[in-house]
């Protein structure tokens, strides 16, 4: 059914349609509206046979999820930013135990300095934790990916994060097609666990593993992600057959076949990039876009296939690997290994800074003209940075950096964007 609704609520409806059995919730912006929506639906009895638990921390949220998933219940939670970091030990544990929990990450920056707005630092910090990570481009895709996520998680016995840009998607009202219960039931069978805490067949789960088997157990985690690499496109096909929509898959490419320059990105910024690319195409530029939906497992082959005819690749990412540059770029460059391409990393949109078409046009034009460096910070205010660096050079007790820089900028809330 077509609906004008908030991204968070669309996700809540999708999760409810997946017949979750245990949902644990701890508030952190910008994921709050999702669990609020689910909490209301469960309390109103609209989601049958479901326990909604308000826990005391994200660490507890993931831990409760581990307990319930290990007892055979389809389990869901959501988090963001500091919350994801607070639960990290349990995040790794859920993956290590092979528990198919589904979690929404409403992507948000990580402090300090504290910042509630969108970038991808939170879930990318967890790239090696063993979870599958799927990035939604639109609210429709966020909704659809949750339905696919439960099926994928349960088939390969791995937890899945569905990542959607905080505020930009979670709080945006737009049209989505909410499927029917019959459609979801046809796509997603009841959960049949591979392992379960069951008095009828007692097992020990979570024993210590020493050097004699640790490598093998870890390799299996990798092997399961490689299985997921095969399953993700198949599930997208099945999904299309039931729901009639292209959603999910490993990557989405747009006008890459004849492109000299390909822009790689994840999440909602792909929309702005495509608009910019459309404009530049009209002007005769051969530019295309590669959107990465599956960040983990990382689709090396599919990325390589999309890039192999290009001459130049710009990876635009909402994350920063401090001390080297890009996080996504590193993976893209691995996919490009051996290809003679010019590669550029562009760090953009950190902490919610708007990525505008104007800035993108300038950036892509520079790339086309061979004027773009290896690492660029889009729209960085060099005056502010240089002023602070100068202050630190001249004054030992220069004070807290973030606060000094804010003072230099002055009151500019209205200028954001």
């Amino acid at each position: 059914m077509l609906k004008q609704t908030e991204g968070s609520h669309a996700v809540a409806e999708a999760v409810a349609l997946c017949r979750p059995e245990v949902i644990c919730a701890y508030p952190i912006s910008p994921q709050t509206h999702i669990v609020e929506g689910l909490g209301e639906m469960v309390k109103a009895g609209e989601v049958a046979d479901c326990e909604f638990i308000n826990v005391e921390s994200e660490f507890a949220a993931m831990s409760v999820a581990i307990g319930s998933s290990a007892t055979g219940a389809r389990t869901y939670t959501a988090t963001a930013s500091q919350g994801l970091l607070f639960m990290v030990e349990a995040v790794y544990n859920a993956a290590g135990l092979g528990l198919p929990i589904v979690m929404t990450v409403a992507n948000r920056a990580i402090g300090a300095p504290i910042n509630i707005w969108n970038d991808h630092s939170d879930s990318l910090s967890q790239r090696d934790c063993g979870w599958i990570q799927l990035f939604a481009e639109t609210n429709q895709e966020a909704l659809d990916l949750h339905i696919q996520a439960f099926k994928l998680a349960e088939e390969v016995s791995l937890p899945v994060m569905v990542c959607m840009d905080g505020f930009i998607l979670t709080h945006a009202y737009e049209r989505v097609d909410v499927p029917t219960q019959e459609q979801v039931d046809a796509f997603l069978p009841p959960y049949e666990p591979r392992q379960m805490l069951d008095p009828k067949e007692p097992v020990s789960i979570g024993a210590m593993v020493g050097p004699e088997a640790f490598s093998e157990v870890r390799y299996l985690a990798h092997a399961k992600q490689m299985q997921a690499l095969e399953r993700i496109p198949q599930l997208a096909e099945q999904f299309k057959a039931v729901f009639g929509r292209d959603s999910g898959g490993l990557t989405h490419s747009y006008l890459v076949d004849d492109a000299d320059i390909v822009v790689v990105a994840m999440g909602s910024v792909l929309g702005t990039i495509k608009d910019t690319v459309d404009e530049m195409r009209q002007e005769g530029q051969r530019i295309g876009v590669l959107g990465i939906t599956s960040y983990r497992p990382f689709p090396l082959d599919s990325v390589r296939a999309a890039l192999q005819n290009a001459q130049r690749v710009v990876v635009l990412e909402k994350s920063l690997a401090v001390g080297i540059g890009g996080i996504l770029s590193t993976d893209v460059r691995m996919a490009m290994s051996g290809l003679q391409l010019h590669g550029h990393t562009v760090v953009a949109g950190l902490g919610g800074r708007a990525i505008t078409r104007k800035s993108l046009r300038g950036l892509f034009s520079k790339a086309i003209n061979g004027e773009l460096g290896h690492l660029t910070f889009l729209d960085l205010d060099w005056n502010v940075v240089n002023k602070q660096l100068e202050r630190e050079r001249t004054t030992r007790r220069s004070g807290p950096a973030a606060e000094s820089m804010l003072r230099d900028i002055g009151v500019v809330a209205a200028r954001i964007g």
Binding site: D49, E56, F59, V64, I205, A207
Partner: protein, 337 residues
């Protein structure tokens, strides 16, 4: 296996042979049909109080749950010595996740069971979460308090040996004052663990007004079985805190585990009581009052108190703390009267 004959005996203590009791009054452990939930062959130290406490507690819980029990276990000695895979001592469904999240794991299991029961996919299975004092009073405390305040249907059992024994005997918030640990060495002007720190989690559990809180020791195993059985008869969050001497960490002889547990209770150092909804409903009285020295001098962790120049003042402070427990909980008969 046929029922084995039990010899009649009287030991001169308060111990009573099972033959003097009717079948239904006999201990769970006395029954050859007991579960052996924590089976033999594990790798606990000789004289381990935690292994003994866990064996009695979980068998009693299994008995009360008619064999339908799931256990969650914090990282620690009990976890490590019971599951050196491919061997496991656990005869029941058992999960170890992390050090600090065991109460929350219990919550998750209980939630799943509730839903599965509603759907008719599962019997009434009960949940025990267990950990040492480090996993309970320190790193797991947030999750424990959360489980308590939500009144989740979990029995949490803390095996308190007063320190991080698995990592090499470091101080926890349950380490008693003056005790030597690897991080509270008997050096400087205040040797051993400092006074005025630490917490007594049973009292904090009571502050949550949960249905049941109890303390126990491995010296009174019938009392422990009774408390576990009672706890299993109730719903909601329940907490049992068991004092379990650790020969390694306490520097005590393996054969003194029960003796030390008894002395902890008889000196008043460890009050043994039960409470419902935040109010004390029963205490195990001290039978033969003992000065704290009798308890302290058997343990090398207090050896610095008994050198050439005994630390009379420190011992007096420990005695005062025990006396306070005796007053506060009414541990002596004459005080109760």
């Amino acid at each position: 296996m046929s029922f084995q004959p039990v010899h009649f005996y009287q030991t001169g203590t308060f111990t009573v042979g099972n033959r003097l009791l009717s079948a239904e009054e006999r201990s769970v452990q006395a029954n050859v049909e007991r579960t052996n939930s924590l089976n033999s062959g594990h790798r606990a130290c000789q004289g381990c109080g935690e292994a003994l406490g866990a064996r009695y507690a979980i068998d009693a819980a299994m008995n009360a749950a008619r064999g339908r029990l799931i256990a969650a276990n914090a990282t620690g000695c009990l976890e490590v010595f019971s599951t050196p895979y491919p061997e496991t001592s656990w005869q029941i469904p058992w999960i170890h996740s992390l050090f600090g999240n065991t109460a929350a794991i219990g919550t998750g299991i209980a939630a799943a069971i509730k839903v599965k029961r509603q759907k008719g996919q599962m019997d009434d299975v009960r949940v025990v979460a267990q950990g040492g004092d480090g996993g309970t009073t320190d790193i797991g405390f947030g999750c424990l308090s959360g489980m308590f305040e939500r009144n989740d249907d979990v029995l949490y059992i803390c095996y308190d040996n007063g320190g991080y024994m698995n990592t090499g005997v470091q101080r926890s918030s349950a380490t008693p004052p003056a005790a030597r640990t690897a991080t509270t060495m008997p050096v400087g002007p205040e040797p051993g663990n400092v006074f005025g720190q630490g917490k007594f989690v049973p009292a904090i559990a009571m502050a949550h007004e949960i249905p049941y809180v109890a303390t126990a020791t491995v010296a009174d195993l019938r009392d422990l079985e009774y408390k576990v059985t009672k706890a299993m008869g109730l719903r909601g969050a329940r907490y049992i805190h068991i004092l379990v001497p650790c020969p390694l960490g306490w520097g005590a002889a393996s054969q003194d585990t029960i003796k030390l547990a008894r002395l902890a209770k008889e000196t008043g150092i460890f009050p043994v009581f039960e409470a419902e909804h935040g109010e004390v409903t029963g205490v195990l009285k001290i039978r033969r009052p003992q000065p704290v020295e009798e308890y302290l001098k058997l343990q090398k962790r207090y050896a610095h108190l008994f050198g050439k120049k005994p630390a009379v003042e420190t011992i007096a402070r420990l005695q005062a703390a025990a006396d306070k427990n005796i007053r506060k909980y009414g541990l002596l008969d004459q005080e109760a009267n």
